[in-house]
């Protein structure tokens, strides 16, 4: 009996020391390589943002949607479509860096400044530059990715070639060849055959961009912004990066063509396209008159 008791005692002692270590080992296997840092900085030009100052701004402006923990689960999130960004995942649409990499601080800063069209995320241009830099620093405290990884190297954007009718036409051919129309639709209205099936990385339905509504895409309104979207993709959405399949000059042709789809917004590309009989006929056929609903969305 005594031996059995000793054995029980040994097992008990072993369980006290061994099992927790096993659990710790298991936890270590599951734990991320790094933990989020509570103290982060951002660097945008001459500005240096500090997370401590950004926290105060975050809990004034942002937490209602993005949540106190930055996970996109703010108390207002259930009523927001598309869902607020999850800063813990640290996956960002608008980047100047290659797909799969972290954005530059300036990318996040510009996103805050610009806002996201057709979402609940407004432009925070009214804040000071320092405040926006501080917010960027604080957003980085939510994810360990900012500790474990460095932002990617920004892609190179070559000088825009001269605008020609040929470049617009070639862009139209690429639009077909790359099957952009499957999501964005033949007329760029965001109503392609795949549009209704698309979901984002959170399995939430997501609509492709409707080029006819505005000249602002989510990540900016300039030709360079459009070019950058092709080449970096919009991480977390079905919009892939075409950096490996599209040559720079082809990408510029695609930009020129897409501008002609924005037939409600004057642009050099649209003007040139309209100067050709073919282009004029195509654009005129798309227009629907006398249907202004006051929403800002053109039919």
């Amino acid at each position: 009996m005594r031996n059995i008791s000793n054995l029980k005692f040994c097992l008990l002692v072993a369980s006290v020391f061994v099992l927790p270590s096993g659990i710790r080992a298991q936890q270590a296997d599951q734990a991320p390589a790094a933990k989020p840092s509570k103290h982060m900085e951002s660097h945008i030009g001459d500005l240096t943002g500090h997370s401590e100052a950004g926290a105060k701004l975050y809990y004034r402006y942002c937490w209602g949607c993005h949540g106190a923990r930055g996970d996109g689960n703010g108390e207002n999130a259930p009523y927001v479509t598309p869902e607020p960004r999850n800063f813990v995942a640290a996956v960002f649409k608008c980047r100047s860096t290659p797909t799969g990499t972290l954005p530059l601080d300036s990318d996040l800063y510009n996103s805050l400044k610009r806002g996201f069209n057709f979402t609940n995320m407004p432009s925070w241009i009214a804040l000071t530059n320092q405040d926006r830099a501080n917010l960027v620093a604080f957003i980085k405290t939510f994810s360990a990715r900012w500790v474990a990884e460095k932002p990617g190297d920004p892609i190179q954007i070559p000088t825009e070639p001269k605008l020609t009718v040929e470049s617009i036409k070639h862009g139209g051919e690429l639009f077909q060849k790359l099957e952009c129309w499957k999501c964005h639709g033949q007329e760029g209205r965001g109503d392609g055959p795949s549009a209704s099936t698309l979901t984002d990385s959170n399995d939430q339905p997501i609509r492709p961009y409707n080029f006819t509504t505005d000249n602002r895409s989510k990540c900016g309104r300039t030709n360079e912004d459009l070019y950058r979207i092709f080449m970096t993709g919009l991480d977390g959405t079905p919009m892939p990066s075409f950096a490996d399949v599209v040559k720079p000059n082809d990408a510029w042709d695609l930009v020129h063509y897409l501008r002609t789809l924005q037939y409600n917004n004057p642009s050099p590309e649209l003007a040139l396209w309209m100067s050709t009989p073919e282009g004029k006929a195509i654009v005129e056929a798309k227009k629907v008159e006398n249907t202004n609903t006051g929403s800002g969305v053109q039919p």
Partner: protein, 475 residues
């Protein structure tokens, strides 16, 4: 004899009670008039943003909130038009403030041992109360068509329209062209409709409503005007994309915002137009925050007599003999991180006919001898310490100093004002559905030489003060 004596005492008591009642009726009227109008949870519900996004401490706007307002209650993300809202969304919010307040005024003329109106007394009253109510409905009718409609009541439920306007935003696609028509608040950088103090004495800016006294014990014949009052007219307003630069100009009816060509003071009105211009520029100073400087000017004119029927009765809305007045000032809003200080210099000038209540047709009446066009200087220092979005400490000091009296016989400091207010507002919760604040405030106002002592016959000061604890809520 006994019955006579008791009758006399009873009569005196009634007069005393009436005097007290009138005094507090005036205070109550001030309280109603001064109630701030705009903190609109309907916007928070529409956009899902907490109050603290648009308000440093509601109802005071933050730069983000000011830009939202200047952009026609639009965030500019192409979700502003009503079609993007659930059909059940109704852009309306209500605001009211149950409260306990104490009002004290010294040197109130009352009946004394020597008869009617022969003595002075300090009068104090206090109790539970509530303010008027604002129904705040605002937003967009369509993209770049916005509106604001504020039916507002006094505490008895009698309604008037505090604001009623439509705004055409970003006309020609530029933020520099925005046109507003209707009844609206002037483009005051220091908004009285968003004032952080609520009491009878502290709930308005003295400089915004001051008019000089004609003589001790005799208020100026009011022509009905306050730069803090909402006015009727048309406004052009322009601003830069980031709202750092703001300019505006308004053409207004000289009715102080009252309908039917009345000026609200029972005076002749109508057919008088006035102008208001304002401009400001903000700039960033490192981590201190956004600083703003600006100026404003109001050029008014008011009639000094009406047209008459053949039988000699005045005809409403036919004021003639317009005479000018103006107000002008400079303002600075200085931020030192959590501490902000607003400084304002104010200058006022009234035409001598307006100041003395004299018809300017030179006919039946003439200017009193020794009369002048009065003018005055004013200043304001308002300090806030925003401890957090949930707690703001408030302090304000205003002063008004007469530069030129309306009459030579007046004491030089007749009408001078000093006003001190301090308090704090605590917001126990902040969300995107409703606003709630515990409001605590003390305010005291000194008016120099505006009362005539029935004892000595000499001008004396009037001091009034308010202590106010309220629960300010909007939903």
């Amino acid at each position: 004899m006994d019955s006579l004596c008791s009758k006399s005492l009873q009569s005196g008591g009634v007069r005393f009670a009436r005097t007290v009642m009138y005094s507090f009726a005036v205070l109550a009227l001030i309280l109603i008039e001064c109630y701030p109008a705009q903190a609109i949870p309907a916007f928070a519900r529409k956009y899902g943003l907490p109050c603290s996004s648009c308000h440093e401490a509601w109802p005071k706007l933050s730069p983000f909130g000011q830009q939202f307002k200047d952009n026609g209650y639009q965030l500019g993300n192409d979700r502003d038009a009503p079609i993007f809202q659930q059909a059940a969304y109704w852009p309306i919010a209500l605001r009211i403030t149950p409260n306990w307040h104490l009002e004290r005024q010294d040197h109130v003329v009352v009946d004394g041992a020597n008869g009617e109106n022969t003595a002075l007394a300090n009068i104090t009253t206090h109790g539970f109360d509530y303010t008027g109510m604002d129904m705040l409905t605002a937003g967009t009718l369509a993209k770049n068509f916005s509106f604001l409609l504020v039916p507002s009541s006094d505490e008895t439920g009698a309604f008037h329209f505090e604001s009623a306007n439509v705004r055409f935003d970003n006309v020609l696609g530029t933020p520099w062209v925005n046109i507003k028509v209707g009844k609206f608040e002037l483009d005051n950088l220091l908004s009285e409709k968003r004032i952080l103090t609520l009491s009878a004495n502290g709930g308005s800016y003295q400089n915004y409503h001051f008019q000089p006294w004609l003589a001790p014990g005799t208020p100026s014949p009011l022509y009905g005007f306050g730069i803090g009052d909402n006015q009727l007219g048309i406004e052009w307003m322009g601003h830069s994309a980031n709202d750092r630069t703001r300019v505006s100009a308004s053409l207004l009816s000289g009715t102080d915002g009252n309908p039917d060509f009345q000026n609200g003071m029972g005076n002749a009105a109508g057919r008088a137009y006035e102008g208001f211009v304002a401009a400001s520029q903000a700039f960033e100073v490192g981590s201190l925050g956004l600083q703003r400087v600006g100026g404003f000017a109001y050029f008014g004119q008011a009639p000094t007599y009406p047209e008459y029927t053949q039988s000699g009765a005045p005809i409403d809305g036919t004021g003639v003999g317009n005479e000018p007045y103006y107000r002008a000032g400079f303002i600075g809003m200085w931020y030192l991180k959590k501490l902000d200080v607003t400084t304002m210099y104010f200058y006022g000038h009234d035409n001598v006919y307006l100041a003395t209540g004299t018809a300017s047709n030179g006919g039946s009446s003439a200017l009193p001898s020794g009369s002048h066009a009065p003018s005055w200087n004013g200043a304001l220092f308002e300090t806030h310490y925003t401890w957090s979005p949930q707690l703001i400490l408030i302090n304000r000091y205003e002063l008004i100093r007469m530069k030129q009296q309306a009459l030579d016989s007046n004491p030089g400091d007749l009408g001078n004002v000093d006003a001190l207010t301090f308090g704090f507002r605590y917001y126990p919760f902040i969300n995107s559905r409703a606003g709630f604040a515990f409001h605590n405030e003390y305010s005291i106002v000194w008016n120099r030489k505006v009362q005539v002592s029935p004892v000595t016959g000499l001008p004396i000061d009037l001091t009034s003060s308010s202590l106010f604890f309220g629960i300010d809520f909007a939903f």
